[in-house]
Symmetry: C2
Subunit: 235 residues, 2 copies
């Protein structure tokens, strides 16, 4: 199941419909993903309930679901906190993402349709404007769309869902990554190289490019991780 919304196509407005517990879950997931809630932060059920104008029950359900997806940690009878991430764990997650992305792009290379290929190419070319303008937020969103489009080209919905789930959990770290240097320019170039290898039909090489792309991104993270750790005595 996808954390950030039940079914992407039926996502008209996040507020009007759906379960209260779902709204709370999405809101908390977003706050954790964007970093507004930092790892280690204690999440008081009653406090969150009053904040959302609800009772504890839907809040509890939301927290339990976030626990399963790994965004929060529940210590029985001891409360729930935003999931702590040691530097090792973050690096593990990043490596996993890199491998999963490589896996996806390899399959996608073999299965992509001409229509999908041109769509992907179109997305890439549109992103050039954001790079030129150094519009980090726009590029961040494009990045998600671009990578998820690749997932779909595997024509394996389950794999795509797994990839999206893992990616969502790294969103908070990825966001800061583009802030560093000319990462955005490099990222765009790497996307182009990946598309080129896909066009050649060389899945293995496309996978290697993707892995390198993801690890390049992760390299820019080291400093951020240290910063997080220094400011967080619990980690």
């Amino acid at each position: 199941m996808n954390l950030l919304g039940p079914t992407p196509e039926s996502e008209t407005s996040p507020e009007d419909k759906g379960l209260l517990s779902d709204q709370i879950r999405r809101a908390l997931a977003d706050e954790i993903a964007t970093g507004r809630l930092k790892p280690g932060t204690a999440l008081d059920e009653q406090q969150i309930a009053t904040r959302f104008g609800a009772s504890r029950t839907p809040v509890r359900e939301a927290l339990r679901q976030l626990d399963v997806s790994g965004l929060v940690e529940i210590r029985p009878r001891r409360g729930v906190i935003v999931a702590l991430m040691t530097p090792e764990r973050i690096m593990d997650m990043f490596e996993t993402t890199a491998e999963v992305e490589a896996m996806c792009v390899r399959l996608a290379t073999y299965r992509i349709t001409p229509a999908e290929r041109s769509h992907l190419q179109g997305l890439h070319e549109e992103s050039a404007d954001m790079v030129a303008a150094s519009d980090l937020n726009a590029y961040d969103e494009f990045n998600r769309v671009f990578h998820e489009a690749i997932y779909r080209c595997t024509h394996n919905q389950f794999m795509a869902e797994q990839a999206i789930g893992i990616r969502a959990r790294l969103a908070v770290f990825r966001r800061t990554q583009l802030r560093h240097g000319d990462r955005i320019v490099k990222s765009h170039e790497e996307h182009g190289e990946i598309l080129r290898q896909m066009a050649r039909g060389d899945g293995g090489e496309a996978a290697r490019c993707m892995r390198a792309h993801m690890l390049n991104a992760s390299g820019a993270l080291t400093s951020y991780i240290r910063m997080l750790n220094d400011s967080d005595p619990l980690a």
Copy 2:
């Protein structure tokens, strides 16, 4: 009404470990994984609650968590059912598992320690007895242990967790797979080949062997999937 019957007298399990909702979640997850609860089965909250001698609240929490991990499907206001799997989705899941296992074994090949290597080899040799005895249940359990041991050799805990999670969701299908023909013998041989490639340090080849190993297993599933679908009008 099921095997784990109510038996009102045995209200306190010998192992009263922690949260009631956790116990219920584990119990339901096990029943789904083992196939005692078939896909499409409606899960009535009140009914489950009385069966466990609890109220609806912990049952609801358990079901919500199972939803996130994909074992059940919740249609708001329409009830919760054991997750339906179309043949396409099952094949998607199997392919994903195959790729993930291949990914793990590749990394494991590069990072395994001598101690881990001998442990893995020991496991493999012990399993020869089960093969000779055609002890399917024992081999099924060994299989899990063996593959999870490989995950750990990646020295990437997050990746190992992901792999375990995906594997757990396919447990019900994998269980039936060994029943077919001499799959158990082939499986043992394939394990040996994987270990040989790992010993050679050829991660790419080990990954290819693992992928083939997993897809061989999935091939034996086709008939089972059709059977499932025929007996299940909801799918």
